[in-house]
């Protein structure tokens, strides 16, 4: 029978299927971090049971860590305690930890792929909604809550309803200055922040196939921002080339065996999806969000949609969002001044993102009244950036290259955007207060962020290339 890629991987991981019960789904790899794991470890202690498969679990500290002076003890007491708890829990339960000071430390969704832990055909989970990032490799990867973290600790399995499947095709060629971030912001703006709820999404089409692995990760990362359980892309030569030679990737005969399996991982030509959407790459321009959920996005030269153009039942929430942002409907955003530029997060903090920004800002200066933070996704990204001399380019431009972590994406550490200030951000969420109480976030691509940094205002990158 014809099956979609999601069905192929899912079915290969079902331990038990029973009428009117969720499937017991086997989880190959469990990633953990300091924020959503402590209560799960506590649960194990209360039950008096160990982590069932500690070797299939990998930990890092990312959400709370400072992005300056990481060699010093964490100043903020509660953050330090939470990071210390992770260290203690990992030692007690026999889990490998890439904590602060480790050369592999970084944002959990950046280190999995770069270390070759993320592989096609795997099932992967993490107590973090952006686990969908790993789907870029043709894996079933999704975020879970802490009770489920405890389930996976205890059993290496999850009780899960098989999700519905959706295919989103993007065909054609992207225009100048338009990248993966613009594709995903465009899709979310088209189908809304709830448009993918209940589905697992497969991204396909010529514009997706043409993307690098890092760009594919940006796309899959934001699947959750339209409510989807996860998103994935069928693995191809681009995928295999990226994985080969990475630290924990299969080697030798094992590689050949795995590769042969990975090549079977695609949706059959006549496989049935529950929903299919199709978009044209040529219709996508550099995107920006103007509201307080990722579905409130538009082309950067467009006007904010009128309140009266919204369904009547949604007008109150819509107006509330614009008031929070200090914006008026039917006006444009282009040219508005910017206070902060944040380049980082599991969406856009990889070496390609940094290279792209460096090639644009080389020889340019940031605008004098803008603060620019670049937070690399991992120690390895940071090291690579320095080896390539990108740090010098950023320094000359007045951009601050900091140390790895989730940083101002969610402001759990000191990296907060002050109340009322406007931040152009390469991260994934523009919710109220996400980057700090009353901070105002506009989500964009790395290039559009760099353009704002240099001009001090919302700018069309296409005019500057």
């Amino acid at each position: 029978m014809s099956r979609t890629l999601v069905e192929k991987i899912w079915d290969a991981h079902v331990v038990k299927r029973e009428e009117s019960f969720p499937d017991i789904l086997y989880i190959d790899t469990h990633l953990i971090h300091e924020v959503t794991s402590p209560q799960a470890f506590d649960g194990l202690r209360k039950r008096g049971i160990p982590v069932f498969r500690p070797k299939q679990t990998v930990a890092t500290a990312d959400h709370n860590v400072p992005t300056l002076n990481q060699h010093l003890p964490i100043k903020e007491e509660l953050s330090r305690y939470q990071v210390d708890m992770l260290t203690k829990n990992c030692a007690e339960f026999g889990i490998e930890l890439y904590g602060l000071g480790h050369p592999y430390q970084g944002i959990v969704h950046v280190i999995g792929p770069e270390l070759g832990i993320t592989l096609p055909g795997k099932t992967m989970v993490c107590g973090d909604s952006h686990t969908s990032t790993h789907g870029a490799f043709g894996a079933i990867a999704f975020g879970i809550g802490t009770s489920q973290v405890e389930q996976v600790f205890a059993t290496q399995c999850l009780l899960q309803q098989k999700p519905k499947t959706m295919k989103i095709e993007v065909n054609g060629t992207l225009g100048k200055g338009v990248g993966a971030k613009d594709i995903i912001l465009y899709i979310i703006a088209q189908i809304s922040a709830a448009g993918g709820t209940g589905y697992f999404i497969e991204y396909a089409g010529t514009a997706i196939q043409a993307l690098s692995m890092e760009a594919r990760m940006t796309i899959c990362n934001m699947s959750i921002e339209m409510g989807a359980r996860g998103g994935l892309i069928a693995p191809d030569q681009t995928t295999f080339d990226y994985i080969k030679g990475r630290e924990f990737a299969p080697k030798g005969a094992e590689w050949d065996k795995e590769l042969a399996y990975w090549k079977t991982l695609y949706s059959d030509a006549d496989a049935q999806f529950d929903k299919v959407l199709s978009f044209k790459a040529e219709d996508i321009s550099p995107m920006i969000t103007y509201g307080t959920n990722p579905g409130m996005g538009m082309g950067i030269t467009e006007h904010i949609p009128a309140i009266k153009s919204q369904p009547e039942s949604e007008q109150f929430s819509y107006q509330k969002a614009l008031e929070y942002m200090g914006f008026e409907d039917d006006k444009e955003i282009l040219g508005r001044p910017v206070d902060y530029v944040f380049i980082g997060s599991c969406t856009n903090s990889r070496i390609e993102d940094l290279r792209e920004i460096a090639s644009f800002v080389k020889g340019k200066q940031k605008a004098s009244d803008v603060e620019v933070w670049i937070v690399p996704g991992s120690k390895q990204v940071e090291k690579q950036a320095i080896q390539e001399g990108l740090d010098k380019i950023f320094e000359a431009a007045g951009f601050q290259l900091r140390e790895p972590g989730c940083s101002a994406c969610l402001g759990m550490n000191e990296d907060k955007i002050p109340a009322g200030k406007y931040c152009v951000s390469t991260s994934n969420r523009n919710f109220e207060g996400r980057q700090g109480p009353n901070a105002r976030t506009m989500l964009v691509s790395p290039l559009t962020a760099a353009a704002a940094a240099v001009t001090g205002k919302i700018s069309d990158i296409r005019e500057l290339l």
Binding site: V15, Q39, G127, Q151, S317, F431, E432, R434
Partner: protein, 194 residues
């Protein structure tokens, strides 16, 4: 896990759409390492101003409204997977959240903690909002066994869907780990087959 069977209570209406988990419990309050105490910071930045004074215009600061049932606009609980959102709602004193649409992860987290998420139609959600606007003392009756939500005063009623397995977990107060652990031999068989 707490058991749930039947509940009759007044409601707190939040007619706002796309309430994300960053609003329910902002990230800066996720540093605790236990499950307790998050209720204090439920909707922190909507409830309190920057000087920690209650904002008079937020409905949870209005004594006219109280109860164990929260009723919110569609796509409730979107965004971050933080289970702390479900813990905060429960810790504050809610046992049920009603909306016309829930984000997947939030819904799962709620069920795993004995907090009942009830999805009703857009029309019925509107009926509830209107009834509560008219009379803040409006009571709802939640019957999990029969899967119904009833407006006590008017008799308006709607049934809701819930996975039969999850329903039995709530009624009996047991959780997924107990269920999976009973199948441990199958897990080991699966591993050996790979």
């Amino acid at each position: 896990m707490r058991k749930f069977e039947k509940l009759k209570s007044r409601v707190v209406p939040l007619p706002i759409e796309n309430i994300d988990t960053d609003q329910i419990i902002p990230a800066r309050f996720l540093k605790a390492t236990t499950r307790e105490g998050f209720g204090e910071n439920l909707f922190r930045d909507w409830r309190f101003d920057s000087n920690n004074q209650p904002k008079a215009d937020f409905i949870m600061n209005n004594p006219t409204y109280s109860g164990k049932i929260m009723v919110a606009g569609k796509n409730f609980g979107c965004g971050s997977s933080r289970e702390h959102a479900a813990w905060a709602i429960q810790d504050y004193g809610f046992d049920v959240v009603i909306s016309s649409f829930f984000a997947d992860i939030f819904k799962g987290n709620a069920l795993n903690n004995g907090l009942l998420p009830i999805q009703v139609s857009d029309e019925f959600l509107d009926v509830i909002f209107q009834a509560v606007t008219k009379n803040p003392n409006t009571e709802l009756v939640i019957d999990l066994e029969n899967q119904t939500v009833l407006l006590a005063e008017t008799g308006d009623q709607e049934s809701f869907e819930i996975n039969p397995y999850k329903k039995s977990c709530l009624i009996n107060g047991y959780d997924d780990i107990d269920f999976i652990l009973n199948n441990k031999n199958l897990i080991e068989e699966y591993e050996q087959s790979k």
